[in-house]
Amino acid sequence: MLRIESYIQAYLALEPEYRMGFHKVVATLNSGGREDGMIVNSTVFIKDGELPWQMQIGWEYFVNEAAKSTLMVTSVKVIPREPETLRGVREITLANEKFRLMANRRLAAANAAYGSERDRLMTETRTYEFSAKSAAAEDAPTTLSLTDEVFKRFSPFANDRRVTAKMGLLAGTFATTKEDAEANVKTGADAVVRYALPSSAPASNVFTIMPPVDTDLKRGTTQPAYNQVGGGVEVIFVNGSPDGTVTGPAKIPDK
């Protein structure tokens, strides 16, 4: 088990996890060697097959013991989760891929151009590259909901004003996928972190949305904000969701 550089911690905070609580990586060490393994909680690297007994004692002890090693991780290649295992993540990957293709096209055009035209194309390339790296739902193209797709919405308010009296959603309302919610949010405090909510009040009221197929949606990743790392799947109901498609709220623990 090894500690990792702080800039890698910051980088991992923006990368989707492989499974809840860890990233699968190929790590480069300060010795120059490379190891396959995982980084737990964006903090400690454990190589494949290693089962450190220190983890059983407690997190703080585990981190302190890892810090004692002279070896450390200086760079990582994150291994993405298999797309078929999480529907919401697959959609984001597709959205990001579009921007990546646009960036590549602009770069090819820029390499064949001169002067101000080249400058313009390079600027566009950088813009698309940025979008490919971090596509918030707000900036994403509109897509359609799938058959039987389910979404969740977390709120500190039981009387959420985005939920209509007839249990629909107003246009422009944010939610997340059921998959993202179930894998990552067990408490209202978890929701504050994962969806970068501005209020520290726990979002412990959970609404379930089951829209009809082909409902207009935008999908993306929650960007870091309000001192929260974000990283959750975010979905915007562009035109809302019809009456009778929302249930709840169910109550989850605050912390």
């Binding site: 707000e138 919405r153 977390f154 709120s155 500190p156 308010f157 009387n159 959420d160 004003r161 985005r162 107003l170 246009a171 422009g172 309302t173 944010f174 939610a175 997340t176 929701a191 969806y195 970068a196 909510l197 501005p198 209020s199 979002a203 929650t222 904000a225 975010e234 915007i236």
Partner: protein, 66 residues
Amino acid sequence: MTTVHLPQRWIEQLIRLPESGMGYQRVDIHLKKGKILKGMVVLNAEEVQAPEPFEPSEIVDVQLVR
């Protein structure tokens, strides 16, 4: 940070506008005498998280910002 409750008129305006994130909107609040509170967070279309208290009746406009 202080919480200011919006009058019903502004709540009704905000619920017709899209959210900025799950459960909140970012707005500029225009007050009488030309003062503008920029980039305020409004929770649930009703609670403004403001750096200092202000009188809700002083509001002359609320505009959504990105």
